[in-house]
């Protein structure tokens, strides 16, 4: 079913949560783990709801998200 | 260095752990005892969120360099800090490591007097959260080095804590004491 892919580069995410707030489908969430930069990072919570609109990728100020679809 | 009373330290960890506050506090305590002091903070372009460290020198006469090449004692609150500073500590120096944060593999210095302190845990125990781990470490250091007396250290707290956070003073005292007593227990035990 899931024909979309949202790839977040965990080691580069700075946990600003902009992608999370911008995803109107609630696909993303802030995880609890800490990356090597010292930040909690964004994770895909629930890819099924994703419509591959690409907005998360567009809005990420650190340009660490890729969005793919079939 | 020719003076009777002379101590030098490096405190190091991440920004936000209160490294600089601990350094300041120690300076104030020494000032209360009429010592000469220098406090030298780390600085650089990329300070935010990065490493924080400071050098403290206490003496009974004018201090030359504020940056000891080989500090006699150290508080270490992060793994990078351990890697950076362990090699330069003076022979037989005192190193106090927050074992709740620092991952310790191979210390590679046999000569040092190393104490691993679960400072976060201790902080939680006495004040209900981990925020005063720095104070615990400082209490332990003062006990271990006797560079200032406990009373001065406690008195210095009100110098550093601003009016606004006055209610934090007793908590800080508790944390310092916890560290101080831990050392005494350790050395007794």
């Amino acid at each position: 079913m899931s024909k979309k892919k949202v790839i977040i580069d965990e080691q580069r995410c700075k946990g600003c949560q902009i992608c999370i707030i911008q995803c109107k489908k609630g696909v993303l969430k802030l995880g609890y783990k800490i990356n090597k930069l010292g930040y909690r990072y964004a994770e895909v919570d629930n890819i099924d709801d994703c419509v591959a609109c690409g907005i998360c990728g567009e809005m990420c100020p650190d340009v660490v998200i890729e969005v793919w679809k079939e | 260095m020719s003076s009777k009373y002379y101590f030098d330290f490096v405190f190091s960890g991440f920004g936000g752990q209160g490294i600089l506050i601990a350094g300041n506090l120690l300076c104030y305590a020494a000032i209360l005892e009429n010592r000469e002091v220098t406090f030298f903070p780390s600085y650089g372009v990329e300070m935010r969120g990065g490493a924080a460290n400071c050098y403290v020198v206490l003496s009974d006469s004018q201090i030359g360099s504020p940056i000891p090449s080989h500090p006699m004692a150290s508080i270490i609150m992060s793994t990078p800090a351990l890697n950076k500073f362990l090699p330069i500590i003076k022979n037989n120096g005192i190193v106090i490591i927050n074992s709740d944060i620092v991952s310790i593999k191979d210390l590679q210095r046999e000569d040092l007097n190393i104490s691993l302190i679960p400072a976060n845990k201790l902080s939680s125990e006495v004040i209900g959260n981990e925020r005063l781990a720095n104070m615990v470490m400082l209490g332990y250091l003062v006990a271990a080095t006797k560079c200032v007396c406990l009373e001065s250290l406690v008195n210095s707290i009100s110098e550093v804590v601003s009016e606004k956070h006055k209610k934090m003073i007793p908590l800080n005292e508790k944390a310092v004491l916890a560290g101080y007593e831990l050392f005494q227990k350790n050395s007794r035990g």
């Binding site: - | 020719s2 372009v45 030359g64 360099s65």
Partner: protein, 348 residues
């Protein structure tokens, strides 16, 4: 007298307040921002004016205006900003207007870095601006001296009607130490009869640096030079540490001297007869005092955090019979006391 625990920069800013500075203009630049930050908070409380200028060029010229009105004025900046002020400093000198300029040196040339450096000795002492003039320059090496010397700088500036500079090592500016606030209750500074008062008094006052008629400008240039000569007699300050029996004397200013002192202590512990000579006033340079030492000691080691600037002045003062070696460290890593001790040992 209040005893405080202050960063060098805070001590300096507080000293300025105690010296009755009433006007500050400056432009942000690392690593001296805590000075304007302190003064933007504190100056209004003592009836002073703080202006964040649009640039260093504007800042130095705002000083020119406020100084002409008789106020004690200051600015602070760091190396590239000081370069931009050179025209203004030359005008202040030419117009005989007092002002205090603080340079917390960064590491050049160009944008360089913000690390510790002493790369601006030449600029500060030889006049980075155009024309014949000398600016008195003081180099503090402790928080207490940051406090004391800025007050002295204001006094010297007024006495000689000249811009005056504090050349500060960034490490001195960052370091916290005990400071005795000696001059908290200083009486107000004297009214300057040459300056613009609240209204025009008597004759029209003209403050300018343009001299076109006949030999007026030549006379003016010699007048500036004579002021400098008087300074050379009266305003020299220096520190000499264990030089009396020294076989080698280390020379450094600011932070280097501070570290040098520790190096001398190490040397003495190991029975190496080393001493330290520290010019505190870089302009006027303590020429006679240094010469006096060279009557006894024939070996000198000059250390600077640059590729060799003050060493030129020392060569000039000491001449060729003296053995002068130079250790330069144009590096944000200050030399350590041990390092300097080894350099001393290498020379003897």
């Amino acid at each position: 007298m209040e005893k405080l625990f202050l960063r060098g920069s805070e001590a300096l800013a507080l000293g300025a307040i105690d010296a009755s500075v009433k006007f500050y203009a400056g432009y942000p630049i690392t690593p001296q921002n805590d000075i304007p930050e302190f003064l933007s908070r504190e100056l209004p409380k003592v009836g002073g004016k703080f202006v964040q200028a649009e640039s260093e060029v504007a800042a130095i010229n705002m000083l020119l205006g406020a100084s002409a009105c008789g106020l004690r004025v200051m600015t602070s900046s760091s190396s590239p900003g000081i370069s931009l002020m050179q025209e203004g400093i030359s005008y202040l000198s030419g117009s005989e207007l007092p002002a205090v300029i603080v340079n917390v040196m960064r590491w050049g040339p160009g944008l360089g870095g913000i690390g510790a450096s002493q790369g601006d000795y030449h600029q500060a002492t030889k006049g980075g601006g155009h024309g014949d003039y000398f600016v008195p320059v003081f180099a503090p090496y402790s928080a207490q001296e940051m406090y004391d010397l800025i007050i002295r700088a204001f006094d010297v500036a007024d006495k000689y009607r000249t811009p005056t500079m504090l050349l500060v090592d960034v490490m001195i500016s960052l370091m916290k130490e005990k400071v005795i606030r000696r001059f908290e209750k200083r009486s107000e500074v004297k009214i300057k009869s040459w300056a613009f008062g609240k209204v025009k008094e008597g004759e029209q006052k003209i403050i300018k640096s343009l001299y076109l008629k006949g030999n007026d400008l030549e006379r003016h240039n010699w007048k500036l030079y004579e002021k400098y000569k008087v300074m050379c007699e009266k305003e020299v300050i220096y520190e000499s540490y264990l030089c009396d029996d020294a076989e080698i004397v280390l020379i450094g200013f600011g932070m280097v001297a501070r570290i040098g002192k520790s190096a001398i202590d190490i040397a003495r512990e190991r029975n190496v007869k080393a001493g330290l000579f520290r010019p505190i006033s870089l302009v006027p340079f303590p020429e006679k005092e240094l010469e006096a030492i060279s009557k006894k000691c024939k070996k000198f080691l000059v250390v600077e955090m640059n590729t060799g600037q003050m060493v030129h002045d020392i060569q000039r003062v000491l001449g060729k019979d003296i053995d002068i070696s130079f250790y330069g460290k144009p590096s944000s890593y200050a030399p350590t006391p041990e390092e300097l001790f080894y350099k001393i040992k290498e020379q003897i």
